[in-house]
């Protein structure tokens, strides 16, 4: 992940935002603002989700059937759309988690090759 020169935050690798959203919703239903805040908080302010990416991503996930949405009242006493994970969403999350660890593992091996073993 490249460093953003402006604010010291990290940019998202393609496809990881959706995984993070699914992961965040594992703790329970949440609205878009809350999801953004949760990702930020859990990454110790290193990841900031742009609203311009967050909301389209939420809708994309809902269209695929991984999320379901419903209206509720937020802490600001206003109607807000809450998203929750569906069963297929949970399955998808575990698939993405596996893929992610494989990727991290693979990249790690390339970046820090283990000393060649001798047979």
């Amino acid at each position: 992940m490249s460093k953003n020169p402006d604010d010291g935050r990290l940019e998202f690798l393609q496809g990881t935002l959706e995984m993070l959203i699914l992961r965040t919703l594992q703790w329970g239903p949440q609205h878009g603002h809350g999801i953004g805040q949760a990702i930020r908080a859990h990454s110790d302010d290193l990841l900031k989700v742009e609203t311009g990416s967050l909301y389209p991503a939420l809708h994309r996930l809902e269209k695929r059937g991984w999320l379901k949405s419903g209206w509720g009242v937020s802490e600001a006493h206003q109607r807000a759309k809450y998203y929750r994970l569906t069963e297929t969403g949970k399955a998808q999350l575990s698939r993405e988690r596996d893929r992610w660890s494989q990727l991290v593992d693979a990249i790690g091996r390339v970046m820090n090759p283990a000393p060649a073993r001798e047979e």
């Binding site: 878009g32 609203t51 311009g52 802490e75 600001a76």
Partner: protein
Amino acid sequence: MRPDQHDLDEEIRGHLALTIKERIEEGEDPTAARLAALKDFGNITLTRDSMRSIWRPRWLDAAEALGRDIRFALRALLRARGLAATVVVTLALGIGANAAIFSVVRGVLLRPLVNRDEDRLIYIRQSAPGIGAKNLTFSVPEIDDIKSRVKTVGMFGDFSTVDFTMIGLGSEPRMVKAGVVGGSFFDVMGLRPVLGRLLNAHDDGPKAAGAAVLTYRFWTTSLNSDPTVIGRTIRLGPRTATVVGVLERSVPYPADTEIIANVVTSPHHLGATMVTSRVHRMTELFGRLAPGASLEAARAELTSVHAAMMREHLEAYSAKAHTELSVSTLRDQIAAPARTILLLLLAAAAVVFVIACSNVANLILARSVRREGELAVRAALGAGSGALRRTLLAESLVLCGAGAVLGVVLARPFVALVSAYAARFSVRALEVSVDTSVLWVGAGLAMAAAVLLAYVPRLPSPYASAGLGLATGGVRITPGTNRRLRVFATTQIAFSFVLLAGAGMLLATLVSLQTARTGYDMRQVLAFDIPMSLTSLGDAKAIAFYQEATRRISRLPGVEDTAVGSFVPWRDAGSLGPGFQFTVEGYKPADGEENPRGRMRMVAPRFFAVLGVPMLAGRDFTADDRSGSEPVTIVSQSVAQRLFANGDAVNRHLTWTDPVFSIFGKPVPARIVGVVADVDDEHVVPGPALTIYQPAWQVGVAGRLFVHAAGDPYALVPAVTRVIREISADQPVERAATLEDVRAEVLSPERLNAFVFSGFAGIALLIAVVGVAGVLAFSVSARTREFGVRLAVGSAPRHLLARVLSEGLVIAGIGIATGAAGGYALAHVAARFFDHVQLPGIMPVIGAAAVLIGAAAVASLMPAARASRVDVLQALRSE
């Protein structure tokens, strides 16, 4: 759930509210917090749009892309106006012709009749193919037999046609064609009145009051839809009738009459001949299938009843006549004569469409070769083959759409033309109109053409940049493209050849018909219908009227001679049936043969002189051959030669033996006093005719007047009419025409056939010529360099000219050969489905080939000349 605009806005508002609350809680003042929240969010509109676009169905995106492509195509085509116009007009001709023909086919063959439950309505016909009688009609005893025995037909309706002199509607006494019907007719037909009532069971029989119904066409065209005609009394010959109603608009069948009256208006229908004679046939028969009965069951039962009836009355059905019964639904009966011709037209239109499409394909292909550079650039920049196809599809959609619109506009006059033409074969064609089905056909054809055309050009491969003149933008023609262009051009020639040969065949028929010698003086003889009513047949007063008329008209200036007869050649053909049996003194038919049939014609003295028919032996009739004197007759040459040794007929005796005459008692032999040359007044192509002439003054039958004019025959019409009205004010005088024009009128279906097919062939030829010229022009322009090199190494310009010319001729030659083979095969296939499939004679085929070769030569000439004038230096420098 697909969120709407409001949902999206509210979700964004919720987000902003949370951000603002958070910031206020962190200590910012509300205004600053609000501004910061908005800034934080970024571009709201953009975000909302991208949220919405996620929910949009994919086809909408595709449609939008196609819309963009179509706008692009419009701009591109505006730059190639000439090509676009050619393509649109070519397609419009193809689509218009097809849409028009399809409308007519649908209207005539497929649409149901207005009659109630028209699929239960049947038409029964008695015919006698053995003596060439397509429609023998029925006699009253026959109908009674059928009615009493058949169970599968619930109701029968009868209809016969009678000519009445009608007085009371319109200013002049007129001869009208009337239907005379029984009480069940309108019930069987299932028709309704638009005004008043129709005839019913109370109007049937000899005791009812005279009543008449007007047909819709007569009421609207001759009486201006006047509602006050109901209740008016009209004179029909010697009887009167009250107008009781107006029939709704319906297909006039079997005859296009002006009025339909009940039986009591026609004394003839009440007479003994009509009621008792089994061979006095003049009635058409309709029926309505009994509940539950099928057409097949009715056909089987009617046929067996008819066969039994014939066995019981052998004397009324000559074995040679092969009398038979046919049963069909009325709709099929009405459509039948037009079926073959319409399907043929549909095929011709389809051929024109194929030619048009292949020509357009040619033009599009040539265009795509020219823009191969552009397509290659787009492919190199990442346009997928789908996107490139879409570009091409958009372009062909624009072209074909425009072609379809113009085609549908063209379809309207085409429909008028074709339905006027088809009306010769089926009265239903008159009600055909342009409707939305034309639009559907046009749109369907355009779509088919568009998809076809989009897949004609080959797409450049993004990897094969080497062969494409990206840098020069010049045109290089690949052998594959060239072959395709030639295949399309050949296809056009082949199809044009089939159409041209067909049209040539019809033209040859027409020419042979028109030039056939008839044996009459055609130009100077004017024929009139001066009808006598059925009741005055044999009446001395009627004869005196015709004699007086002849005398006075002969004295008119400009009249050379005048005579009376009973039959206008060709125009009255078929009105007397297939002829009557007769025998002559000393003639014995061979075993199993019957007596010959002859045509009976009544003529007055000087008839032969007036019409220019030579007397070969004996004498003409004279004024002394009158009622009460010795029965005499004149025969045609064929009678004399076939039935008498050495053709020696004069002073021998001839007797009518046909059962039709048995009602008049024992036949009286007549002495043959003369022999005249054969003339065939039934057929436009003359054949030998057994004709027997009887003296009109003796028999008392006339009705036609012939005037031999010195100058312009039609100039005499007013004078002749005036003279006749002076003698009898109520006498109709109608249908004055020279024999030449009578024959032309009879020939008009043939002329129209030739005209319509020549039209199709002409369109096809035009398109094919454009196609060949286009292919060669393109090929020449793409080979400028080759020609330059050839000239540079010493080829003579005329060699290049001959070379291009021969290329055109080779295309034409292959096309003609393919067309001839294909057409021959097609005719054989068609022969299995249609009767009377005819292969054109050798002359039309050679003619069509010559026309095409000539056209191809002319089309090649321009490109060839251009090839021979290539400037060597410029051609070599161009690359």
